[in-house]
């Protein structure tokens, strides 16, 4: 996976910068709290949420269990409907396929609808290297692209920018890429959106090639689904003559009917709406309506390696709703950029190290970018147990062991530079297996908390050097429980 941002510091360092950026923190707190509250309301409206969540989990698990069969089925149905299917084992291969397809059309520009998969493989850069310009058309992606920036949230990628910054970016950069921003552009959202509309419409109306991802692919029918709000997706999917969709192999659902689950859970989990403004589905090509040529590029790029991990494979159920980001206390403070990947937040912390392996410093640090509070699991519409996978990956980083990399079994060495973490893990395991000792330790720590240093002495220094030690509660949880519940659970 080539999605690591070059020169990206490991999570602790990157996050350290972000938590001291008060604008960023303010923007993030406002955004995540707003979406979080709205989501809870949207979910509460549906009385069978738990059942929908369970069905979503089962459909995805079933699909992953038979992924080979469903991939072949999908290929047959897309081909029968007039599309062409390509297979890409890694990012380079996917980029090569798309670049060749665009070149074959004779065009030197493409319009793109927001897609995590194409960001993951660095498609825009690969196209640029071949002299092809890729225009991002989602408003937030446009802000990111014009600002020569990186996305920081799955759903609202420019969440770290406020309206004044966006106005400046539009005023200074739009002219470089096409129609300039109107004179005297103010920073009201409506005016900014209008400027984007005019700037992008010019591109949509002349575009000959569109590039997209997809939220779902239906094996039974060969149908692809794109869920969006602005209509830029519809523009890219229907106006060009050629459409190229790059989609991860885990995005399959077996049947048309299965969509009834995800079209209910995705919008409510992601934008907290009953339904997003636009959903497009297409099956191959249709005479006289939409692109005459359709290519589907099926992307592996670490997904089969993830599938090989018995605990970690559940990450492939993810439907990229971003609900887990909005409830995560670590994401709220650190921001999306600190994760060094197109997949930020809790899902990024388990997905990136699996797609890319844990050999780089950033990937080895990601499983630690969590407080394990469990909020991400609670909101996940496909019930991915993110804390479970985090702990599993921490163990892998610390202990090493057998993993699958590019289809081959390899034995991973314990990560260097994690000696302190290793010690911490050992200590934790020792303590958790001896409840008495844990209790004494907690009491001691909490009674002496005013005396605690801000960083740890000895071998612990490396660990606390990147963390502010959490303030200890006045009373350990166990004592509180004992006191308030009178030891009814029998704990002494």
């Amino acid at each position: 996976m080539s999605g690591t941002y070059l020169g990206m510091p490991a999570f602790p360092k990157a996050a350290h910068g972000a938590v001291h950026d008060s604008t960023l923190r303010g923007n993030l707190r406002h955004a995540t709290h707003t979406i979080r509250a709205k989501r809870a309301k949207a979910v509460a409206e549906v009385s069978d949420w738990a059942e929908l969540r369970e069905a979503g989990k089962r459909i995805k698990d079933h699909t992953l269990r038979h992924l080979d069969r469903y991939l072949v089925r999908l290929e047959e149905s897309v081909t029968a409907a007039g599309g062409t299917v390509h297979w890409a084992a890694d990012a380079d291969e996917a980029n090569r396929i798309v670049t060749d397809l665009v070149k074959a059309t004779g065009e030197s520009e493409v319009v793109k609808v927001k897609s995590m998969a194409t960001q993951e493989i660095g498609l825009n850069e690969a196209l640029e290297a071949e002299g092809i310009r890729a225009y991002e058309t989602d408003l937030a992606e446009l802000i990111v692209q014009l600002g020569k920036d990186r996305p920081s949230h799955i759903l609202v990628p420019a969440i770290h920018r406020n309206r004044g910054e966006i106005r400046d970016i539009f005023t200074h950069e739009m002219g470089e890429w096409g129609r300039p921003a109107p004179e005297g552009l103010t920073d009201t959202p409506a005016e900014l959106a209008e400027a984007a509309r005019l700037h992008l419409r010019e591109k949509f109306l002349r575009a000959k090639v569109g590039v997209s991802g997809a939220n779902f692919m239906v094996a039974e029918t060969g149908t692809l689904v794109v869920v969006e709000s602005e209509g830029n997706g519809r523009m890219c999917l229907t106006l060009p003559e050629t459409l190229i969709s790059v989609v991860g192999i885990e995005k399959i659902v077996p049947t048309w009917r299965d969509l009834e689950v995800f079209l209910q859970t995705l919008p409510r989990s992601s934008t907290a709406e009953r339904m997003n403004p636009y959903t497009s589905t297409w099956t191959g090509t249709t005479d006289d309506d939409g692109p005459r040529t359709f290519h589907l590029v099926l992307l592996d790029n670490g997904r089969t390696d993830t599938l090989a991990d018995e605990v970690g494979r559940q990450a492939l159920r993810c439907i990229r709703c971003s609900a887990c980001l909005n409830v995560c206390p670590v994401y709220e403070r650190a921001g999306g950029h600190a994760y060094g990947s197109v997949y930020p937040g809790p899902i990024g912390a388990i997905l990136s190290p699996q797609l890319r392996g844990v050999t780089s410093e950033i990937d080895a640090s990601l499983p630690y970018a969590s407080s394990l509070c469990g909020a991400c699991y609670e909101v996940c519409p496909v019930a991915i147990d993110i804390p479970e996978v985090l702990v599993h990956l921490r163990e892998r980083v610390v202990e090493g062991g057998e993993v699958t990399a590019q289809g081959n079994k390899v034995v991973l060495k314990p990560a260097k530079g994690h000696a302190a973490e290793r010690a911490a893990m050992r200590a934790a395991r020792w303590a958790f297996s001896r409840p008495g000792a844990l209790r004494t330790g907690q009491r001691l720590a909490s009674r002496t908390r005013r005396l605690h240093p801000r960083s740890l002495p000895g071998p612990g220094r490396a660990w606390s050097g990147t963390r502010d030690l959490p303030a200890l509660p006045a009373e350990p949880f166990r004592d509180w429980w004992q006191r308030t519940h009178g030891g009814r659970d029998g704990a002494k």
Binding site: A55, W87, T271, P277, S280, A308
Partner: protein
């Protein structure tokens, strides 16, 4: 080895630990969820549709079939629409009272030409009450996908009660996946700038839905 074989081989090896005890039919999933949330009568379902459409800032009108031409003419006039796109299979009666110039949806017309048209009138395939959604399936009375995308004003006619369903599961049953579908819930919108909702970034800024019947 082709990438296809490589990927399929990797999938099979990755799953070597999973017992092959799962039935082989497609998606043998236990579906404990509901087919619809509450079973209400025609009137209630239509009210819910109107309410949810309006909640997402679509403008909702209700009229009888006899009043439809006047209603549509009024909506076009109120916007000062000079031209209106007409899908090939649209009931001509619907536009019989309108003054705006009628533009046919032709395969050769370019997106630039569509951009010059003020409004579009279509029928729909199905409407979903619980979510406030209308679905277009490219039938002759709805036309190509692009005609409801490029003009800034979309008028969509829903026949009540035939075309109204309660829920997403019921809607999917009614739809043909072989057709290109567009599900529309309110006008185009973005919340990308400080989470302030703004209508009409790229699709039509105004969506008017007429519930007829």
């Amino acid at each position: 080895m082709s990438s296809r074989e490589r990927i399929l081989g990797r999938v099979r090896r990755a799953l070597a630990d999973v017992p092959a005890d799962v039935p082989s039919d497609d998606s043998p999933i236990e579906r404990g969820y509901l087919r619809a949330h509450g079973d209400s009568g025609v009137e209630e379902t239509t009210d819910l549709l109107a309410e949810n459409l309006a909640d997402y800032r679509a403008i909702v009108h209700r009229c009888t079939l006899a009043d439809l031409p006047a209603t549509i003419a009024g909506m076009l006039a109120a916007r000062g629409a000079k031209s209106v796109l007409v899908p090939p299979g649209l009931d001509r009666e619907w536009l019989s009272a309108a003054d705006a110039e009628q533009v046919a949806d032709r395969a050769e017309s370019t997106p630039h030409e569509l951009d010059q048209v003020d409004s579009v009138v279509t029928a729909c395939a199905v409407a979903v009450a619980e979510t406030g959604t209308i679905v277009l399936d490219g039938s002759p009375d709805q036309g190509r996908r692009r005609i409801t995308l490029v003009p800034d004003h979309h008028i969509c006619v829903v026949r009540v009660p035939e075309q109204v369903v309660s829920s997403v599961p019921q809607a999917l049953e009614h739809l043909d996946p072989a057709r290109p579908l567009t599900w529309i819930s309110g006008p185009s919108a973005t919340s990308d700038i400080e989470l302030d909702r703004v209508e009409g970034v790229h699709g039509p800024r105004t969506l008017e839905v007429v519930l007829v019947g």
